[in-house]
């Protein structure tokens, strides 16, 4: 793979009418990095994730994954190439059991074209599913319908699903949002440990600066769809305009929330 770069975006721009969701975004991520993506609501963090994973197509610019241009690919093909993501709002199969959610994730990763005959629930898969869920501390919820589980638990299942299928690049969209303050570190620890074993590159969108400081060795800051800072965590977090536009000024651009909603919806 070209000089260790796993992900590279070149001049990616996307706008919805007046709302500029991404503007000439160019970032390069080396494999093995742990990158935090920060920015106020509407700054274009989730949009960035959606563009990289193919859910949104940029007006201009290209996305390269391990040197391959994946811009035109569908989320499915991109996933198949080893990029996985979790969601700000958990995207689960509500009327199935937590375990079934994981089993499906695992099985799809195993079977490129799933069989209409071979059963989903095999011993090996079940073992893997249970392993993942225990790593995320989900044992008590395995046999419950997702519909009845609290948001925090759903969040964990959502992340657990994104961990299956041995991803090479993992994009976590606000992994700790909706999780109580006293649990957030525990969860991030679990995730990060899970990742250490398999050298996965991870980008995580985060509002919580404590999390960013603790788990990101590099930070990319967005504002109005632009990258306004990119570098070592401490350096970026101390940068003046980052402090002004991002850190601790959640309220500053609440108005933008609408923008983000449309941008994704």
């Amino acid at each position: 793979m070209s000089d260790g770069l796993i992900l590279e975006t070149r001049g990616v721009s996307l706008s919805f009418g007046a709302v500029v969701a991404a503007q000439d975004v160019s970032v390069a991520v080396r494999s093995g990095e742990a990158v935090g993506i920060i920015g106020a609501n509407g700054a274009g963090k989730t949009t960035f994730v959606n563009i990289v994973t193919g859910y949104l197509k940029p007006d201009s610019g290209r996305i390269f994954y391990g040197g391959e241009d994946i811009t035109p690919l569908s989320p499915r093909d991109i996933t198949r190439r080893g990029i996985r993501r979790s969601f700000q709002i958990p995207q689960l199969f509500l009327d199935l059991l937590a375990r079934e959610n994981l089993l499906i994730a695992i099985a799809i990763a195993e079977e490129p074209s799933p069989s209409p005959w071979r059963p989903l629930d095999t011993a090996s898969r079940r073992a893997e599913a249970d392993a993942v869920s225990s790593r995320m501390g989900l044992e008590p919820y395995r046999d419950r319908e997702v519909r009845v589980l609290p948001q925090g638990v759903r969040k964990l299942i959502d992340i657990a699903m994104s961990l299956t299928g041995r991803p090479r690049l993992l994009l976590l969209d606000e992994p700790t949002s909706g999780i109580s303050a006293d649990e957030k570190f525990e969860i991030m620890d679990r995730v990060m440990n899970a990742l250490k074993e398999t050298a996965v590159t991870v980008l995580f969108v985060e509002h919580d600066m404590e999390i960013v400081e603790r788990y990101a060795r590099r930070v990319i800051a967005f504002f109005d769809g632009r990258v306004i800072a990119d570098g070592p965590t401490a350096q970026v977090l101390s940068a003046a305009d980052v402090r002004r536009y991002v850190v601790g000024t959640e309220i500053y651009r609440r108005a933008g929330a609408v923008g983000e909603a449309n941008a994704v919806g």
Binding site: P75, Q91, A109
Partner: protein, 313 residues
């Protein structure tokens, strides 16, 4: 995994039915034949519903199956029931494979209406084709079974046996399918397609296969109905027929593959007795019992069975 509890239950039920077959009154045997062949169609409708798709056009494949068999019998002189079945099923599966390319892009009511449109175009063609007897349709000669050609009552019970075997085996197959990876992806599609795609599976493919499977089942049902009634007409493809399938599917409940079999039996019985004892208001009787089920048994009739299972368990 060989056979789980459900499959064994169904297998047992099949054997029981085959044993009971000869002792059932003739009229009931016929009613059961029709009911079970419709159950095949309803089974397909149920498979689609498991993925949140409702087809108001299964009459298309039901009709294609029946007409496929009918034409093969009358024009090509094919008499063998198994061959006719193969032809009918193949015909409807092929058509479904083509139609599904378009259908797979649609969801909810649009899926329903588009499938309805296709079935009604087919209906229109049949009505316009004087060669096929237009709305009067045409009769089928009695079929033979791998050389053995029974007549009269024996022939009827042969068709019944064939239908029963197919219906139950189809149910077992459907059960297996629903537990398979693709089947579970179907379940997943019902609540969150995007995640399915984000896990790397093709929603389109899953749906297309489902549509073809359902069509094949409907085709088989059509052939068997044709063999049982020895007559086919465009009514098989009319939208009210398709509506009835959806109706019975919901009535039976989509929770279990045995539900369509039971549901269809009950529906046919309710209707035939309604026709006898309320000749002027049988629609109302049927409608009212439906409404009752929908409102008080949201899980369909199957939820009754489930309750009993719980109590016994």
């Amino acid at each position: 995994m060989a056979f789980d509890r459900t499959s064994l239950l169904l297998l047992g039920a099949l054997i029981a039915t085959l044993v009971a077959g000869p002792f059932l009154p003739a009229w009931f045997t016929f009613l059961a034949t029709v009911a079970l062949s419709k159950a095949l169609v309803v089974l397909g409708v149920m498979l689609l519903m498991r993925a949140g798709l409702v087809s108001f056009g299964q009459g298309l494949y039901y009709g294609i199956g029946a007409y496929g068999a009918g034409l093969a019998a009358n024009m090509l002189g094919i008499r063998d029931a198994f061959l006719l079945l193969a032809l009918g099923v193949a015909a409807s599966a092929v058509v479904a494979a083509i139609v599904s390319v378009l259908l797979a892009r649609y969801r909810d009511i649009f899926f329903a209406m588009l499938s309805l449109a296709f079935s009604m175009i087919f209906y229109g063609l049949l009505v316009r084709s004087a060669a096929l007897g237009s709305t009067d349709g045409f009769n089928l000669p009695p079929a033979n079974f791998a050389g053995w050609s029974p007549v009269g009552a024996t022939g009827r019970s042969a068709v019944f046996m064939l239908t029963a075997v197919l219906a139950f085996l189809a149910a077992i197959g459907a059960h297996r399918y629903l537990k398979s990876t693709l089947g579970m992806i179907g379940e997943a599609i019902r609540t969150n397609e995007i995640r399915v795609e984000y896990l790397g599976a093709s929603v389109r493919r899953a749906i297309q296969i489902k549509v073809v499977l359902a069509a094949a089942l409907a085709g088989a049902g059509g052939v068997l109905t044709a063999l049982a009634a020895s007559h086919i007409d465009p009514g098989l493809a009319y939208w009210t027929t398709s509506g009835e399938f959806v109706f019975v599917a919901l009535l039976s409940g989509t929770a279990h593959v045995a539900a369509p079999l039971i549901g269809c039996m009950l529906f046919e019985l309710i209707r035939t007795f309604a026709v006898q004892y309320a000749p002027y208001t049988w629609q109302m009787v049927v409608g009212a019992s439906m409404l009752a089920v929908i409102m008080f048994l949201p899980g369909g009739l199957w939820s009754l069975v489930r309750m009993r299972l719980r109590r016994t368990a």
